[in-house]
C-alpha cells in the first residue's frame, strides 16, 4: 500500500497524560509523527490534536481506531491533504545587514507574501504562513544569504466536511 501524508484530528478532553497515550500509539507501531499541534477547539473545554503522519491509509485507519479507543478521546478522524484546508507557520531570523546589502531579500519577502514581524539593530524576523512546500521554497531562497534561526510550527487544519463533534457530545449525553 502506498504511503502518503495523513492528517489525524483528535477531539478530546483536556487531560494530563493524554498526549503521552496518543504518542504511545505511534511509538508502539514504529510510525513517526511528522508534526503535532494541540490547541483548544471550537467547543468549550474540548482540545484538538492535529497530527500529521506519513504512512499507509491502512495503518492510519488502525491508529485512528486505537486513538479513539482511549477513554478521554471523544472522536478521531483522518483525512488526506485533498480533504482538508491546512497550513503551517514559520519564522526566519535574518541578520539586519542583509536587508540593506542584499536587494534580493526584499523581493523574496514580497514574492512569498511574508511579513516582517520585527526589526532590531542586529536582526529582523520574517513570518511566513502557508503550505509546507511554500515554507520550504522560501527557506531555500533565504538559505544562501544565511538564516540565523528558523522554526516551523506543526500543521493546523480544518476539514472541508462537517465534523459534528457538538452533536456527538450531545448525542452521547442524551443516550445516557
Amino acid at each position: 500500500m502506498k504511503k502518503a501524508l495523513f492528517t489525524i484530528s483528535v477531539y478530546s478532553e483536556n487531560n494530563i497524560g493524554l498526549l503521552n497515550r496518543i504518542s504511545g500509539i505511534f511509538l508502539k507501531r514504529h510510525i513517526n509523527i511528522e508534526s503535532l499541534n494541540v490547541s483548544k477547539s471550537e467547543i468549550d473545554g474540548v482540545s484538538k490534536f492535529t497530527i500529521v503522519s506519513f504512512t499507509t491509509e491502512e495503518w492510519t485507519r488502525k491508529i485512528v481506531q486505537q486513538i479513539e479507543k482511549q477513554i478521554e478521546v471523544i472522536k478521531a478522524f483522518y483525512h488526506t491533504d485533498e480533504e482538508t484546508i491546512f497550513q503551517e507557520s514559520a519564522l526566519f531570523k535574518i541578520s539586519s545587514n542583509l536587508l540593506f546589502d542584499e536587494r534580493q531579500i526584499q523581493n523574496i519577502i514580497k514574492e512569498n507574501h511574508s511579513t516582517i514581524v520585527t526589526v532590531a539593530r542586529e536582526f529582523f524576523v520574517i513570518s511566513k504562513t502557508g503550505r509546507r512546500s511554500e515554507v520550504d521554497h522560501m527557506y531555500d531562497q533565504l538559505k544562501p544569504y544565511g538564516i540565523m534561526q528558523f522554526v516551523r510550527s506543526g500543521r493546523i487544519s480544518v476539514t472541508k466536511d462537517v465534523m459534528g463533534i457538538t452533536a456527538l457530545l450531545n448525542g452521547t449525553k442524551e443516550a445516557e
Binding site: S12, Q65, Q66, I71, K173
Partner: protein
C-alpha cells in the same frame, strides 16, 4: 496461623458527607464499590492507607502478597473467576513498577482490575525523591486508563471512574496513583458511583442491518464455523452462544481465553483453535465457507499466517471493541456490541439447521488427531508420565468441575487442550501476554473469589519459580488451592522450539531444580511427589479430597513435545501432527 475469612459486606450506595482523610476516603470508596478483598504490599508512600486498612479490617480483607506482581495476578484471578473488579495496592517507586507485568497481562487479556499506588507528596513530584517514579508514564501503554491524584478531594471521583472504566465495555486494568499528601489531607467526603464518562462509549449500539446481514450469511452458509473467545464470558453470553450453536447446528471452536463458555463435552464443541489447538478446527478454518468470530481478536497465535487464513470464507466479527474490527482480519460483516445483546438480537433471525455432513468432517479430523496425538498424550503406553494423563486424572477426580489455572508453556497448552469444563469462568490462564509466574498467585485469587469451587493450579517448573514466594499467602491464610507442578526439569516450550527450529541447541533451557516438596513443606503445605504411573491416580484423588492447600509435583517426561503445532508464521493448514 490465621484462618481465611472473607467478609461479605453489602455495598454502600451513597455515603453521607463526613470530614475524613484521603486515606480513609479510599477505604470508603472501595467499600462503596463492593470490594471486600484486596491484595497488596505496604511501603512508605501508601502507609496512611494501610493505617486505615488496619482500622477497617473487619470490613475489608487485605491479603499481603510477597511481591507486588503476585498481588496483581491474584487480583486478576479473583476478577476472572468472579467477573468482579480485582484490586491490588502498592507503594510508590519499586512497589508501583512491580505492578507493571500484572497490568500488561490484564490489559491484553481484558481483565478488570484497579491498582492503587502511593506516590511521593505533591511538592516532591519531579524532584527525584526517594521512591519516586513516574508510574503514570510507565503504566500508560498497559492500562485502559490511569490517573494521578494530588488532592484528597479528587479521590472519590477518580476511584469511582476507575471502577466504572475497569469493569465496563471491554474490561481492563486501571491505575490510580495517589500522592501522600492527598492521603493525609482531610476533606468533606461523599461518594457517588460513576455511570457515565462523556468521551467513553463502552457498549456500542448493535446495528440491526449488520445483525440481519450476519443472519443471512449464517442461514445460507453450507459450512459455517464459529470461533468464540473470552468475549462470551465477559459479556455473559454463554446461554446465547449455546442457543446459536444448537439452533444453527454450527461446529464451534474456542480460543484459550474462551474455553469454558460452552461445555467441553457438548457435541458441537469441536475444540481449540491456534498454534497448539486441535487438528480439525485449525485445518477446517481454511475449508469453511463462513467464519463467525465472536468476542475474539484474531491473535497471531490463533490465525498463524494471515495471508493464508480463512481466505475462502466470508467472515462475520461480533465484537465489543471497534478497534478490533479489521485490525488483523477483514470482516465482511462486523457486528458491534456486547456479545449477549448482539447474539440475542441475532437468534430470532437464525433458521434451524444441522450441517450433519460438515459436522462429520470435524469428527473425522478428531479421529486422526486422537490416533496420532491424543491417545498417547492421555493414555500413554511408554514408561514416563505425560502432562496429558495428569490433566485427564484431574478431570476424572474433579468431575470436570474444577477451576483450572494454568501458567505459561507446554503444561499450559496441555491443560487447555485436555482439561474438561462444565461451567463457565473455569479456565484461567495468561493468554495474550504469556506471563510465566501468573498461575500460582492467580489461583490464590481465584480460590478466594470462589471458595465453593475446587481450584487447581497447573504450573511448569520454570514459571512456578517466578512467583513461588506467594506460597506465603497460602500458608498465612490457609488458602485451599491445589498446586500441581508438572516438572520436566526444562523450560519445556522453549526447549521444544530449540529441538524443532534451532537444531537442538538447548541454550539455557535445562533447569536444575530445588526440592519442590521440601519448599512446600517449608511453607507448611502438605506435599507429595509422583514419579510413577501407579501412584498418579490415587495421589490426585487424595489431593482433590483434601480440604487444605496441597502441593503435588509430578515428574513428567523431560523431552516430550506438544502437538499438534502450527509453526510460527505458518498457515493453519500446515498444522503438524508430529
Amino acid at each position: 496461623m490465621e484462618t481465611l475469612k472473607i467478609k461479605k459486606v453489602a455495598p454502600t450506595k451513597k455515603q453521607p458527607k463526613m470530614r475524613i482523610s484521603g486515606a480513609e476516603a479510599i477505604i470508603h470508596c472501595l467499600l462503596a464499590e463492593g470490594v471486600d478483598l484486596l491484595y497488596g504490599y505496604p511501603g512508605g508512600a501508601i502507609m496512611p492507607v494501610y493505617d486505615e486498612l488496619y482500622r477497617f479490617q473487619d470490613k475489608l480483607t487485605h491479603i499481603l502478597a510477597r511481591h507486588e506482581q503476585g498481588a496483581t495476578h491474584a487480583a486478576q484471578g479473583y476478577a476472572r473467576v468472579t467477573g468482579k473488579v480485582g484490586v491490588a495496592m502498592a507503594t510508590s517507586g519499586p512497589g508501583a513498577t512491580n505492578l507493571v507485568t500484572g497490568l500488561a497481562d490484564a490489559q491484553i487479556d481484558s481483565t478488570p482490575i484497579v491498582c492503587i499506588t502511593g506516590q511521593v507528596a505533591r511538592h516532591l513530584l519531579g524532584s527525584d525523591a526517594f521512591q519516586e517514579t513516574d508510574i503514570i508514564g510507565i503504566s500508560t501503554p498497559v492500562t485502559k486508563w490511569n490517573i494521578q491524584v494530588t488532592q484528597a478531594s479528587e479521590i472519590p471521583e477518580a476511584l469511582a471512574k476507575a471502577f466504572y472504566i475497569a469493569r465496563s465495555g471491554r474490561p481492563g486494568p486501571v491505575l490510580v496513583d495517589i500522592t501522600k499528601n492527598a492521603q493525609f489531607d482531610k476533606f468533606d467526603f461523599s461518594y457517588e458511583k460513576c455511570t457515565y464518562v462523556r468521551s467513553y462509549n463502552p457498549y456500542p449500539t448493535p446495528n440491526n442491518k449488520a445483525i440481519e446481514a450476519a443472519a443471512e450469511l449464517i442461514n445460507s452458509a453450507k459450512k459455517p464455523f464459529i470461533v468464540w473467545g473470552q468475549g462470551i464470558i465477559l459479556g455473559k453470553a454463554e446461554k446465547q452462544l449455546k442457543a446459536l450453536v444448537e439452533k444453527a447446528g454450527i461446529p464451534a471452536a474456542w480460543t484459550i481465553m474462551g474455553v469454558s463458555a460452552l461445555d467441553t463435552n457438548h457435541p458441537l464443541n469441536v475444540g481449540m483453535v491456534g498454534m497448539h489447538g486441535n487438528y480439525g478446527p485449525n485445518i477446517l478454518t481454511n475449508e469453511c465457507d463462513l467464519l463467525i468470530a465472536i468476542g475474539m481478536r484474531f491473535d497471531d497465535r490463533v490465525t498463524g499466517n494471515l495471508d493464508t487464513y480463512a481466505k475462502q470464507a466470508k467472515i462475520i466479527h461480533f465484537e465489543i471493541d471497534p478497534a478490533e474490527i479489521n485490525k488483523n482480519v477483514h470482516a465482511d460483516v462486523a457486528v458491534l456490541g456486547n456479545s449477549k445483546d448482539t447474539l440475542e438480537l441475532l437468534l430470532p433471525h437464525i433458521k434451524e439447521n444441522h450441517h450433519e455432513a460438515w459436522q462429520t468432517i470435524f469428527k473425522e479430523k478428531y479421529k486422526i488427531e486422537f490416533d496420532t496425538v491424543i491417545k498417547d498424550d492421555i493414555h500413554p503406553t511408554k514408561p514416563g508420565l505425560t502432562m496429558g494423563e495428569v490433566i485427564e486424572e484431574i478431570n476424572i477426580a474433579s468431575g470436570n468441575k474444577a477451576v483450572i489455572v494454568s501458567d505459561v508453556g507446554q503444561h499450559q497448552m496441555i491443560a487447555c487442550r485436555y482439561a474438561k469444563f462444565n461451567q463457565t469462568k473455569s479456565n484461567i490462564t495468561s493468554g495474550g501476554l504469556g506471563t510465566m509466574g501468573f498461575a500460582l498467585p492467580a489461583a490464590i485469587g481465584a480460590k478466594m473469589g470462589a471458595m465453593e469451587r475446587e481450584v487447581v493450579a497447573i504450573i511448569g517448573d520454570g514459571g512456578y519459580q517466578m512467583t513461588i514466594q506467594e506460597l506465603g499467602i497460602i500458608m498465612q491464610h490457609q488458602v485451599p488451592v491445589k498446586i500441581v507442578v508438572l516438572n520436566n526439569d526444562h523450560l519445556g516450550m522453549v526447549r521444544q522450539w530449540q529441538e524443532l527450529f534451532f537444531e537442538k541447541r538447548y541454550a539455557s533451557t535445562v533447569m536444575v531444580n530445588p526440592d519442590f516438596v521440601k519448599i512446600a513443606e517449608g511453607y507448611s503445605i502438605e506435599a507429595k511427589r509422583v514419579s510413577e504411573r501407579k501412584d498418579l491416580k490415587k495421589t490426585i484423588e487424595e489431593m482433590m479430597a483434601s480440604d487444605k492447600p496441597y502441593f503435588l509435583e509430578v515428574k513428567v517426561e523431560q523431552e516430550d513435545n506438544v502437538f499438534p503445532m502450527i509453526p510460527s508464521g505458518a498457515s493453519v493448514s500446515d498444522i503438524r501432527l508430529k
